[in-house]
């Protein structure tokens, strides 16, 4: 379930405040979901709650972490060390969740050898070697869109089966490989869509005329 990480974050926050036990109602509020949904989600992992009391925060953190596979370390490589890749490399929120940034790769020779967040940038030619040596299991693609598919093909050929893609294209991969896409431009477009709705929305004929005019220019 995609909501487990959200619960986990809420639980950590509770733990930091010294809270040992939490009811489904409270946790649901902190995570921004319905309490019945939360209980059903948690019941899929097993019966880890106590009726009349709630859930023990520490134990639940452990159970969710285990379910998500966070009790082991994941080795991550970032490909494309531009604006975005740099920001990701320097972000501390990953390491604390068991994601180890093992390698930074880029095609630009001027970047190769530069040290970012304690890691030396290597040349993309060494992709296959680096993946094998570090045992990379998750690849983050932060190259321009034109290079993304090629890079993706290469990491998949090297045995990586989980890809996080920031480039604005649909990657095609064989079965068995998971790709998740983060497209910030799409997020903004969805906000704009709702914003427009609030303001009254499109207006039929008048808009149609605008199109005809625009095409005629």
């Amino acid at each position: 379930m995609a909501r487990l990480p959200v619960y986990l974050r809420a639980l950590h926050s509770l733990q930091d405040r010294g809270i040992a036990t939490v009811s489904s109602e409270e946790l649901a509020a902190a995570a921004g979901v319905n309490s019945a949904k939360l209980r059903k989600d948690l019941s899929h992992l097993g019966s880890y709650g106590t009726r009349g009391v709630g859930y023990e925060v520490e134990y639940l953190i452990y159970q969710i972490s285990r379910e998500l596979g966070l009790t082991q370390d994941w080795v991550v490589a970032i490909i494309g060390v531009g604006n975005l890749g740099r920001a990701l490399a320097g972000y501390g929120g990953f390491a604390s969740r068991g994601f180890r940034m093992a390698s930074l790769l880029d095609a630009d020779p001027r970047l190769v050898g530069e040290r970012i967040a304690g890691i030396d940038v290597e040349h993309i030619d060494r992709l296959e070697t680096v993946i094998a040596e570090h045992g990379v299991s998750i690849a983050v693609i932060a190259t321009p869109a034109v290079a993304a598919q090629e890079v993706c093909d290469r990491v998949v050929a090297s045995g990586v089966t989980s890809v996080l893609n920031f480039a604005p294209i649909v990657l095609s991969v064989p079965d068995g490989v998971d790709v998740r896409k983060v497209d910030l431009s799409i997020e903004l477009q969805i906000l704009a869509f709702h914003e427009q709705r609030k303001a009254g929305g499109p207006m039929g004929e008048q808009v149609e005329r605008e199109y005809v005019e625009a095409v005629e220019l």
Copy 2:
């Protein structure tokens, strides 16, 4: 619909290649969805296809853009000019979709006055003034988590009703305000979850013993 921006991107790509007409089958493949779903989505905007032929790329681009509100310009402010805020500010993919980065705000006095991507960073104290002056309609929050709720409250109080949040917390906002969350850490956790599944998954008793040991340490 959240898929419209994906279709739009695929259509632009087709247009760049000089393709004037596309069938639902082809477009669906390019967008990575089922063709029936695509047709149903498009039919919600009206009947813009021609049976036996397909959809006219240019006209469809216009219709989707209009539906999404991209025929008008949206004014965006970025709050928190750290690693991430900087990457966003310099990204060209927003301007080309009608999103104008109008303002960068930060609490750090050392950053105030610095020029990033052609925009002077201003102090967060001027938030309300800046929002009013530029007519900001979308706020992007890229501050640390602890500051995010306070910043959010202030932009909402200033009349902004669309927020894109990168901080790893659940923001609470009044009705009528849209918040979209981008949480990269969650994306990685979801990948790890599936990766673990492929590798065999958690293993009952043995894991339980591990927990007991971990707690006893």
